[in-house]
């Protein structure tokens, strides 16, 4: 494993990766819409360059094959100069994780841009859409290359802003406006937590830089006798809360399905390349700050989200919502994977998931583009009309369902085996829960994804009119689909599990299994592989049984499980729960405050007014006799003094000069002769 030699040129190229989209954003915002084609080629071109640079640098790393590498460009830009403990400087941290992410994000973002050229054609805010999309890409690319929490957080917030703008792209629609507000506010909860976590780390360790923080953790542990001190646990959990918000984990998952109100490329962007991946990325970056107990919490949150969202996904009819819940569920996989210690597995899944989920979303966009509806019951039989879309989506579905040889299989398998190892190592029911949840969720994933494919593309067309209208999308849409589909198939082989397992060794906090643990790992791997193939096969079979062969009637089953189905179909009433608790509580608070304002504050003011009136009467008397007397006295004195001053103030400039000179001479004399 040779060392990778990184010189200034490489770092300059890396710095260009986020900065070119940023520049393109400004150009596009300011002048883009006056340009030819409303300037859409500016962001697309910028992303093409950024993706090429990112892939180029990644390829450089791949050729050397040193997954444990980590290079830094320290303090490339001093944001707040000063002594070390109060300085904030931006730099680049380029390690295996960010290398992979840069390449993947760049490529996917570029493809999504390309797809949008076709999808958004003729939109009213076509130009600004591209500008925002471009800024979004900047946020994610900047985030993965950040070497410190400060610039990380800045990019994080840029993404929050962009998600708000883009989800609310069709702001005429009330539902879109509500969705973007919801997304913004919900993620904001996580953001505040993240900010507090960063603040805690800063107060204690006086640095924002990841590498320095990582180096500091063992020191802190050593000082504290090997245990995590309370503030570090708190900080870790708060940072993880940020990830929960951004990555739409339970209980802050509610914004992500609603975010489907945005244009489909935006959904693809949020779900595949940028927003939600940022949370997973953050969890990986902050893994060291999580105490063992916190890690279990992370694993539980992730695995619970996985199964929770998967059940909802089964009952949805809106194609994009199915995909949305599938994303939530898959994110749960990743988070759980990281939580149980399989950082590499979680990240592997993030990358493969980025590829096939982007493909799925873009494919669904292509479908929606063709039939102008999002309801699956109105589709059907589309595979004859849209062969490319069908093919790519099918491939991606196979990948997400975990069919062997497709990308998702490898990554999901890695996560499952990590949970198994985790369970075996600790052997308690609490530690086993993630494994149980995730295996169930894996089966469900296969089921609902094939439900989607079967309802959309197979069977007879259920809406003849729409079917007649449907046609394959233009090349700008199909080409990205094809490329992404290609990666959905080959992602697992290209990276290979090995790359990510090797890669994991370079990550902070990664413990390489040895001895018994290695044995566990080996054992778990076999179980996980066969287990996941089994559940995936079962899920697929079940889906075919329901929706292709009609062995069972979905409607009848729904009937039979009536209350449960309704409960699940309505997303476990989480939104309603929030409405009833959080929102209601806030409303109640405002009512209380209003009451307080009306009665207490206004009352106080009125009271003060009354007192003031009374005091005024007193003061009036006082004024008339005492103050006026004093004023008259002062006036009289002033007149007296004025009479004296008149002697000096002649109104002649020259007299003043003379007096000034006399003063200066006097002062100089005093200084000279006294000294």
């Amino acid at each position: 494993m040779a060392d990778i030699v990184f010189d200034g040129g490489d770092f300059a190229r890396l710095a260009a990766v986020p900065l070119i989209p940023l520049g393109a954003f400004f150009v596009q915002t300011l002048v883009g819409r006056f340009g030819p084609r409303k300037g859409d080629w500016i962001p697309v071109g910028a992303l093409a360059i950024a993706a090429a640079l990112g892939i180029f640098e990644f390829a450089k790393c791949l050729t050397v094959w040193n997954p444990g590498f980590r290079v830094e460009w320290k303090e490339a830009f001093d944001w707040i100069p000063g002594p070390a403990e109060s300085r904030a400087s931006f730099g680049i941290l380029y390690d295996n994780l960010s290398a992979t992410m840069t390449a993947a994000v760049g490529l996917i973002a570029f493809l999504i841009h390309l797809f949008s050229v076709g999808y958004m054609h003729g939109d009213r805010r076509y130009a600004s859409f591209f500008a925002h999309l471009c800024l979004f890409s900047f946020g994610m690319l900047g985030l993965v290359l950040s070497d410190n929490f400060l610039s990380f957080f800045a990019c994080w917030e840029v993404m929050g802003l962009c998600s708000y703008l883009l989800i609310g792209h069709f702001s005429e629609k009330p539902s879109a406006a509500a969705a973007c507000k919801k997304a913004f506010l919900t993620t904001r909860i996580g953001d505040v937590c993240l900010f507090l976590g960063i603040a805690i780390l800063w107060t204690r360790l006086h640095t924002f830089r990841f590498t320095e923080l990582w180096d500091a953790v063992p020191r802190v542990l050593a000082e504290n006798g090997g245990a995590y001190p309370g503030w570090l646990v708190t900080a870790g959990l708060l940072i993880f809360a940020g990830a929960v918000g951004k990555s739409a984990q339970f209980p802050l998952h509610v914004w992500l399905p609603d975010a489907m109100e945005g244009p489909t490329p935006v959904s693809a962007m949020i779900h595949a390349a940028t927003m939600v991946a940022a949370g997973v990325f953050l969890t990986a970056r902050a893994f060291l700050f999580l105490s063992p107990e916190a890690r279990i919490a992370v694993a539980l949150v992730g695995s619970f989200t996985a199964i929770f969202a998967a059940t909802i996904g089964i009952c949805q009819t809106d194609i994009k919502r199915v995909l949305a819940y599938s994303t939530v569920s898959q994110l749960g996989f990743m988070i759980a994977g990281i939580g149980v210690g399989g950082i590499a597995a979680g990240l592997f899944h993030m990358v493969t998931h980025a590829a096939f989920k982007a493909c799925l979303f873009l494919g669904s966009g292509s479908v929606i583009h063709a039939v102008h509806t999002q309801e699956m019951p109105q589709m059907g039989g589309l595979r004859r009309r849209m062969p490319i879309t069908y093919g790519t989506m099918l491939v991606s579905t196979l990948a997400i369902a975990g069919v062997p040889l497709f990308a998702g299989f490898y990554s999901k398998d890695a996560i499952l085996s990590s949970t198994l190892v985790h369970a075996m190592e600790h052997g308690s029911i609490l530690h086993a829960l993630p494994a149980i949840f995730l295996f169930t969720a894996a089966g469900m994933t296969a089921f609902y994804m094939f439900r989607l494919i079967l309802l959309t593309f197979h069977g007879e067309p259920r809406d003849a009119h729409k079917f007649e209208h449907a046609h394959e999308s233009p090349w700008v849409m199909t080409v990205p689909l094809t490329i992404l589909g290609f990666f959905a198939v080959t992602g697992g082989w290209i990276f290979g599990e090995n790359w990510f397992l090797e890669l994991g060794k370079g990550l902070p906090g990664m413990v390489v299994a040895e001895g018994e643990a290695a044995h566990h790992e080996h054992e778990a791997h076999g179980i996980a592989m066969w287990g996941s193939i089994g559940v995936a096969g079962a899920g697929i079979l079940l889906a075919f049984a329901f929706y292709q062969w009609r062995k069972f009637s979905a409607a009848a089953w729904a009937e039979r499980w009536g209350p449960v189905h309704r409960w699940v179909k309505n997303k476990y009433y989480v939104d309603e729960f929030y409405l009833a608790t959080v929102v209601r509580f806030v409303m109640f608070l405002t009512a209380v405050q209003r009451w307080f304002d009306v009665w207490i504050v206004d009352g106080l003011v009125n009271l003060v007014g009354g007192i003031g009136r009374a005091a005024a009467a007193v003061s009036g008397w006082f004024d008339r006799w005492v103050v006026d007397g004093a004023v008259n006295l002062v006036g009289w004195l002033t007149q007296l003094w004025g009479g004296v001053a008149r002697l000096f103030q002649t109104g002649r400039v020259q007299t003043y000069v003379a007096w000034g000179v006399a003063g200066a001479v006097g002062a100089a004399s005093v200084v000279l002769w006294m000294a």
């Binding site: 003379a658 000179v661 001479v665 100089a668 004399s669 000279l672 002769w673």
Partner: protein, 173 residues
């Protein structure tokens, strides 16, 4: 040689000042002031500040003095304003303490090289230019001066452009 030149220039400068102070006609005073400016310019040359000497010529003689003459030409002369007694009195009142003070300061201070002859000075225009453009030297005074000149220009134009209001309290004057 230098002594003669110094005496000449000092005489021109001080003589010009005296004439300017005492002459009955303000126009003559202004022209006498030209002598002062020329004399000081010569003194600058003797002090090795050739650039400054030329600037003195250009700005004081070519600019300020012309401006003052303009002002003179545009206002009413007041030939009876000089009272010789007052001028002499003021001069004495100012000169005596000033002379005492300067003598006192001169006797109190010690200067390293107060006596000549000094080494030949070097041409300074280029160095002054560099000093004005160097960040560590006088860039900020330079910028401030530019700003001040702009402000003064705008102010002067503003004053000149204002339509003259009727004299305040014009009725009863």
């Amino acid at each position: 040689m230098e002594r003669i030149a110094f005496a000449l220039f000092a005489a021109i400068a001080v003589g010009g000042g005296l004439v300017a102070l005492f002459h009955r006609s303000i126009v003559h005073s202004a022209f006498a002031l030209m002598g002062t400016f020329l004399g000081i310019s010569g003194l600058f040359v003797l002090l090795g500040a050739d650039f400054l000497a030329v600037v003195q010529l250009l700005i004081y003689v070519g600019g300020i003095l012309v401006l003052i003459l303009f002002g003179l030409m545009l206002t009413k002369p007041d030939p009876s304003e000089r009272k010789l007694r007052r001028v002499l009195l003021v001069l004495a009142a100012v000169a005596v303490p000033a002379a005492i003070l300067v003598a006192r300061i001169a006797s109190a201070a010690r200067w390293a090289a107060a006596e000549g002859p000094l080494p030949d000075p070097k041409p300074a225009a280029r160095e002054i230019g560099f000093l004005f453009l160097l960040k560590d030297a006088y860039l900020i005074p330079f910028e401030l001066a530019a700003f001040l000149l702009t402000v003064a220009l705008v102010g002067a134009v503003f004053l000149a452009r204002q339509p003259h209001p009727p004299p305040p309290g014009g009725e009863d004057r």
